[in-house]
């Protein structure tokens, strides 16, 4: 494999160096590192490689979090455990800024987005254009402690959804960093409106990994010109395939593989979604399993089960 066939952090034949380089780049997903090392360097079970990567990253993070002397080759201090934009951060944004960030997050998976012109007097704030459909979002900003209620859902149901331009949305959704009440979910179900609340956003933010600095750039670019925002987004590394292949509106998945730079969480408390593509069979299908994916448990449990077996042995 030649150098230009892999990601920039990957140096063929240099596993420690590659892990270190990937650690420095906080946008690199651990699962992506495991993918590359498993494909090109290490003939070992995935869980073993993951453990290797996470422990190496921990060591590097620890080393870099301690004061360094002048012999440190890195001239500028860096935050290896750089945090990512999360749901709590989202509660501090106004509607338009939040709509922008959510649009960027969605477009990282697929498609493109546009913000609805405030002059349109529409209840919709954000349109997500996918290949065959458009989803219209009513963005609700809420303090963390206050829930997303049925009134918010009703506001979308009864509001003006004409946006004055672009495709009409085929699917409506109410989206908020707050947690939806049961009543809100019930009303939404009655009106075939999707609810995207804190649980789902937590997964999105963990998967798309926007740093606060990047969020700042995005919001600044949005106020300047849309093409500048587009350019900024186009410069970002693509999401790992396993993440990009998911439908972010499949609200069945709970929390995600990696939350922050704190990699110890990977093997302890982070939920992992079904690691393969999952299609709900159409009604009236024989021989296919019907399931409510929200009842699934953490799919990282298989690896932890094995790890626990080994711990019990030692």
């Amino acid at each position: 494999m030649s150098d230009n066939e892999g990601p920039t952090w990957y140096t063929p034949g240099d596993v420690p160096g590659s892990i270190e380089a990937a650690t420095i780049d906080s946008s690199v997903y651990v699962e992506h590192i495991v993918d590359v090392l498993q494909a090109h360097e290490l003939d070992a079970p995935r869980s073993r490689i993951r453990t290797l990567v996470t422990s190496a990253r921990d060591r590097i993070s620890e080393r870099n979090s301690t004061p360094t002397d002048s012999s440190d080759p890195l001239e500028e201090p860096r935050a290896v455990r750089s945090r990512i934009f999360d749901v709590e951060d989202a509660t501090y944004l106004g509607e338009r800024n939040l709509a922008t960030i959510l649009g960027v997050a969605l477009s990282r998976y697929a498609g493109s987005f546009s913000l609805v012109d405030p002059q349109a007097d529409s209840v919709l704030d954000l349109l997500w254009n996918k290949q065959h459909t458009t989803v219209g979002f009513h963005v609700v900003t809420r303090p963390e402690q206050e829930p997303l209620t049925a009134d918010h859902v009703t506001a979308l149901h009864e509001g003006n959804i004409a946006t004055g331009s672009g495709r009409s949305p085929a699917q409506l959704a109410v989206i908020s960093p707050a947690t939806a009440t049961e009543r809100a979910r019930s009303v939404a179900e009655d009106h075939e409106i999707m609810v995207v609340d804190a649980d789902v956003l937590r997964r999105w933010f963990n998967e798309v990994r926007l740093t606060p600095a990047l969020v700042g750039q995005i919001l600044e670019a949005e106020t300047v010109a849309y093409n500048e925002l587009e350019h900024l987004i186009s410069e970002l590394d693509p999401l790992p395939e396993i993440v990009a292949s998911r439908d972010p509106l499949d609200v069945s998945h709970s929390s995600p593989p990696i939350a922050t730079g704190d990699t110890s969480a990977i093997t302890t408390s982070i939920d992992q979604a079904l690691p393969v593509e999952d299609e709900t069979p159409p009604p009236g299908t024989q021989g296919k399993l019907y399931a409510n994916p929200s009842d699934d448990g953490d799919f990282g449990a298989f690896d932890r089960f094995v790890d626990n077996l080994e711990e019990d042995t030692s």
Binding site: E277, A291, N308, T313
Partner: protein, 298 residues
Amino acid sequence: MKFEFTEEPTEVPIDGNKSVSVEPKQPWPSAYRGSRYSIVMDDSFDDHAVLKWEHRDLSIFAAAPNKLRQAMVLIGKSQGLGSFRITAAGEVLTKVKASAYDNIDQAPISEGWVPVYLGKCRGEIDFGSVDTNPKPPTNEVKVWTSFPFNHGERWSVSSTGELVWNWRDYQFVSAFDHSDLVERYAAYRPNPGRLYITEHGHVWVNVPHNDVLPDKQAEIGEAVIAWKTDAESRGDATTLRLVNRRLVATSRSEDPADGQLPIHLGHLRDFDNGVIPKPIVDDQSYFLAVGQYEQVWE
């Protein structure tokens, strides 16, 4: 082999070191047990009857076998619909409301729901993405990839090494010796626990990570990794989900990794000359208890 249902008699061991031949449509004189399926009418199938396996939100459908449904109709099940069981010997059982049952004079109870023997089945119901007759492990173990709920007769390995069929306070010991099977169980788990035997003779058990004999831990770990790698490479969401759900359902913490992994121990033909465990019901009050409802909690 394609699923076949035939109305034929079966031998059932009973109390007093005896056995009886039971004809189709006669009351079932033993424990009501086995894999649970049902024939249902479902809107999404244009009101055609289909065969269903389910557990909570999980469900999967197959074509309803005509002969079986016909037998269900003739025994008094409205439209041939309702739940039925298949024992480890392939015996098909159902419950018939006493008031609609022609052979009520032969039954040990006169009201409620009478367990009735319908006939025998051979071959596999075609559930598509779920194979109810997976290839058994040869030397070591595999992850159990078929249904992890409502699948198989639920037996317990007692502290004295017997196979016991438990339900509520009833405990019925198997009529036969199963020392090979119990030895196989004990090779992996040091403590008494459950063991499931399906209609195709497969034996699967629950394995918690902290109750596996040390010399088997690596083998089980490797079985999990091999199964998971294979499932991911084939994009098999079904097996990943079914095993995941077993862990979730049996975990006592919020972490499914603390649950019990379904492990395929082998096939009955590999133990004790292939003898099939059969409980001896030695307490007639069992029939009163089990006949109280069509569906009973297990």
